[in-house]
């Protein structure tokens, strides 16, 4: 005889202070909240902009040093990945959308390398390092990706190639496993 024993679970109704207070009348409307948050972000923007520039310098240095030897230095690659993550998280809000996009691309590349155990794509990373320098130049600072489709199309293509290689490697790994 088989028994259809169902896993035990318990449902709990939760009405916490956060929800109760948030729903209290007399708060701030969406439009007012957006306006006030925007002006508060403007106040911290100069400080975050300085940080973005410093972090870009650190990232470029780490990327160049990582490729100095015959084999990429794992610690420096990890450092570059961390700097890319930091830039990805704040660059857009600080007014550097191009830097944000390049940092996102670099994160995708590093994650693909890590996930699929493919060789470090030095040429792809080099392209992004050059693009980072360009994004910080006075000519391109503050420009949005939409305004520079020809510049970013190439970067997107090589990232897609890295992504596809990672996906392919993952499929091969699964099939082999």
């Amino acid at each position: 005889m088989t028994t259809n024993a169902r896993p035990t679970f318990r449902e709990i109704e939760v009405d916490d202070d956060f929800g109760r207070t948030m729903r209290t009348p007399g708060g701030i409307t969406r439009s007012a909240a957006m306006a006030r948050a925007g002006s508060d972000i403007d106040r911290v923007r100069p400080q975050v902009s300085r940080y973005v520039k410093d972090e870009c310098a650190r990232l470029k240095k780490a990327l160049r040093s990582a490729q100095a030897g015959a084999q990429p230095d794992a610690a420096l690659v990890a450092q570059a990945y961390l700097a890319s993550q930091n830039l990805r998280d704040v660059a857009d809000t600080a007014g550097f959308p191009l830097v944000g996009l390049i940092a996102r691309n670099l994160c995708v590349i590093f994650e693909a390398v890590d996930a699929a155990q493919i060789d470090y794509p030095a040429a792809v990373v080099d392209c992004h390092t050059e693009a980072l320098g360009l994004a910080l130049s006075r000519r391109y600072e503050g420009k949005r990706p939409k305004e520079l489709p020809e510049l970013l199309a190439g970067l997107s293509q090589i990232v897609e190639i890295a992504r596809a290689a990672a996906a392919q490697a993952a499929i091969s790994g699964t099939a082999a496993g």
Partner: protein
């Protein structure tokens, strides 16, 4: 009142004892930055607005306009976060500076920052926190482990406190990991004021039951998205969530059955 906006395909009737009023509102035009054109039946709490049945049509229009405002207000609610305590657990001080300023803009007066797992736990032991925002890259154990430890501890005073994961890593593995450790929601970095506002509204106005099993404690993961808090998504291709009246010929039952048969 905007001359292009038409109201009133049915006189509102109070449903005795229910405290609710059913009204059909036919709307078209632009109000509060929102384009709308639809006829929809709404149930509105009768103490939210007042009207006099049988009064002049102008008064009726005014009443229906008020009802429409109530409905729109319900979709775009105001939020009240003054007095609430927020914990931002993120190793990057510049990232927290941005989130801190957004929360301050929303009216938060008490935002505490933690740079490590241990700092965050210490703050939780010493102070009352109403909402946590946790970055998965939190040093000394990671943010997801931190969330899991709070949810799994039956003695934790913060066991059911809403927790949002804030991360730039939007890979499926990260989203699933965040969900399975007991987080309420994931917000992708870089954070914008609108995305944070929507998530806070969502958590507060659409609370989910908590589920306790042998290996999980947290909000119900069977999360059915029933619409965006503002009624419409941010992307141009997002459809409205309400099911509208049919606009053309529909499939017959036989057609539906044959489609389902193929699927089976």
């Amino acid at each position: 009142m905007d001359g292009r906006v038409r109201y009133g395909s049915r006189i509102p009737r109070a449903r005795a004892g229910a405290g609710l009023t059913e009204i059909n509102i036919k709307t078209g035009g632009r109000r509060g930055g929102v384009n709308f054109s639809r006829t929809k039946q709404h149930r509105v709490a009768s103490n939210d607005f007042a009207w006099e049945p049988g009064a002049a049509s102008g008064a009726l229009e005014l009443c229906l306009w008020l009802a429409g405002c109530v409905v729109l207000a319900a979709r775009n609610p105001s939020i009240n976060i003054a007095g609430l305590s927020f914990l931002l657990a993120d190793p990057n001080p510049h990232s927290t500076a941005i989130i801190h300023s957004i929360l301050r803009g929303f009216g938060a007066s008490r935002v505490i920052e933690a740079r490590t797992n241990r700092d965050a736990l210490q703050i939780l032991n010493e102070q009352k926190i109403d909402l946590m925002m946790v970055e998965p890259n939190l040093p000394k154990g990671g943010g997801l482990a931190f969330i899991r430890s709070i949810r799994q501890d039956p003695n934790s005073p913060c066991r059911t406190v809403p927790i949002l994961v804030i991360t730039g890593d939007t890979r499926t593995s990260m989203i699933k990991g965040s969900r399975d450790c007991g987080a309420n929601m994931v917000i992708a970095k870089p954070l914008s004021p609108s995305s944070l506002y929507e998530r806070l509204t969502w958590v507060a106005f659409h609370p989910r039951k908590f589920i306790e099993t042998a290996n999980y404690f947290g909000p119900d993961r069977r999360f059915k998205i029933e619409g965006f808090p503002s009624g419409k998504g941010r992307r141009a291709g997002d459809n409205e969530v309400e099911v509208k009246a049919e606009e053309g010929p529909t499939l017959s039952q036989d057609d539906i059955d044959s489609l389902l048969a193929q699927a089976r």
